[in-house]
Amino acid sequence: MQLALVRRQYPSRVLSVFTPFIAFGLTLLAGSIMFAAQGLDPLVTLYTYFVEPLIETWSLHELAIKAAPLILIGVGLSVCFLSNNWNIGAEGQFVVGAITGSALPVLWPDFANFATLPLMLLFGVLGGCAYACIPALLKTRFNTNEILTSLMLVYVAQLLLDWLVRGPWRNPEGFNFPETRIFNDAAILPELFSEYGRANWGIVFALVAAIGVWLMLRKTLKGFEVQVVGASPRAGRFAGFSSSRMVFFAFGLSGALAGLAGIAEVAGASGQLRPVISPGYGFTAIIVAFLGRLNPLGIVAAGLVLALTYLGGEAAQIALGLSDKVVRVFQGMLLFFVLATDTLIHYQVRVTGGTTAGDSRGDR
């Protein structure tokens, strides 16, 4: 009895739509087993985890806050990954965007008028974009592996932020504690419906970016170019597309969106810079991008799901005493199942060696 993966002649369209749902279902199943192993009622736990955060208004606002950076970054990454550019450093571009955007309210706290916030957002976008162009330059010029360079630059960005908030940008009235001054009111990203919760304009940026990139990929020549260069660089060359310009476009766009996410996070939820401003949004967004099938609209849904795992994990921790590590286990399982089920789009599982179907199912 043997199992073999046989390549499909054509990728299965049905499966490519449904694998994220199958993966999510399998995650829930595996999660239930994990809860049961810890002596918790899986049904109650899943309810606390995935339903409770959705039935209260304030909690929905929190969901939007958490999902906005994931969607913004994930949408940018989808362009990178589709064009075969492996930007693993969105976390660093997020941080640099937050830094360049914050320069204005930190260094010129008295500059507070209607132009403050737009300028901050612009600086954030430019900062993230410029920072992402470093691995792009290294790749096109020296043929350096962009996975390594973009990842390494994350640590550079984090240490730069750390140095700034402990050193030159430290709050002069902050008793030496490592944080910048609190932004002036003109530098704060307004809340959408402040009487109901904290959700701010970040989620609007995320949705606009998702729709914009979706239209770009579907309706424009540039979008076609992204997909051709990604699927077959050689075909791209024949078509006259420059692969090095595509590297800069993909990195630049995803860096810009990550930078926007960074400054929106800092100007929205925090209101100041601290040594650590992200719980790993740039890395989680990689899961979001793949869970969303590298489709910007799918990424919106995926971002909301991942945000829900964060909120639910916290709710479960408080209500049921579940360890906070479970959140990361959940996210890891989700990525694992997404990648695993993706195999089924291109491959079929065939049983060879003449056994009954029942046996083979047992093996799977």
Binding site: D41, W58, I65, F175, R274, P279, A319
Partner: protein, 354 residues
Amino acid sequence: MKRSLSVLIASVALALAGNVTAADFKACFVYVGSKTDGGWTQAHDIGRLEAEKHFGGKVETVFVENIAEGPDADRAIERFARSGCDIIFTTSFGFMDPTLKVAKKFRKVKFEHATGYKTADNLTSYNSRFYEGRYIQGQIAAKMSKQGVAGYIASFPIPEVVQGINAFVLGAQTVNPDFKLKVVWVNTWFDAGKEADAAKALIDQGVDILTQHTDSTAPMQVAAERGIHAFGQASDMIAAGPKTQLTAIIDTWGAYYIKRIEAAMNGTWKSQSTWDGLVDGILTMAPYTNMPDDVKAMAMNTEAKIRSGDLAPFTGPINKQDGTPWLKAGERADDGTLLGLNFYVQGVDDKLPQ
């Protein structure tokens, strides 16, 4: 469908109710680290458990751990405020502004924030005078060191840590006026690898006493391997160095938590800004071990004097590191100055990161 949903909700409610005992008061704790970190957060969790035990079944305690400082903290605190907590303790400096924000929204809930400086009608700040223990350690170090040089593994250059370094040197100088202190900044509260490396580097530079303002037991283990003495931090670390630990500063928050929960229950809770020390029981010295009797007697005598108020570590004459005068003879530093302390006293062999 509708029915199964309501059954589900009912079962959830039942399960939650099962968790909640007949307690009529709920105290909630937000932790920055893991409750088993062996240092800072664990000390708070021990305090929480003491309080729970003290009140029998009358107080329910809940905690949430590994909450990042920043927007996540806002949400964790708000969730607590909404879930019926009567008093919420947030136990990291970085929770200060989030706690203040939530406190403004939930006026009926009482909030207590550790190691910060902002307060409100329903928000108290509390802290511990760790430096009192450091002063005693400095005296012991000066007695026990043959080289006259101690090593200090420091986390971040914030006032609380600078107070500790200065108090250690001031204590040591009462025994040996030429005593020197070398400092290594590791820029972390908890990183066993970095702390061990710092310990080795300091020992290689000739220090024969180690102390730390970080939370892992790695420096204690390195000191034990190299056969020198060391001081524990936040928790009693005697298990990591039975022949090495001279004493340790143990954070004992339980007494404070019991006091504040009690006040909140009987309606006498008021917003305040407390900075308790040895006398209030918020910090405790681990048994004085691995030292001759005369050193032990000196340490206990100093501890008694600090408790009685006869001795304040920051009492003049004290010069700043560069030799310029800071406090005149007999002058005591006020709390405001100490809470913003950002310079060394004379005798520290290091440049304070600015």
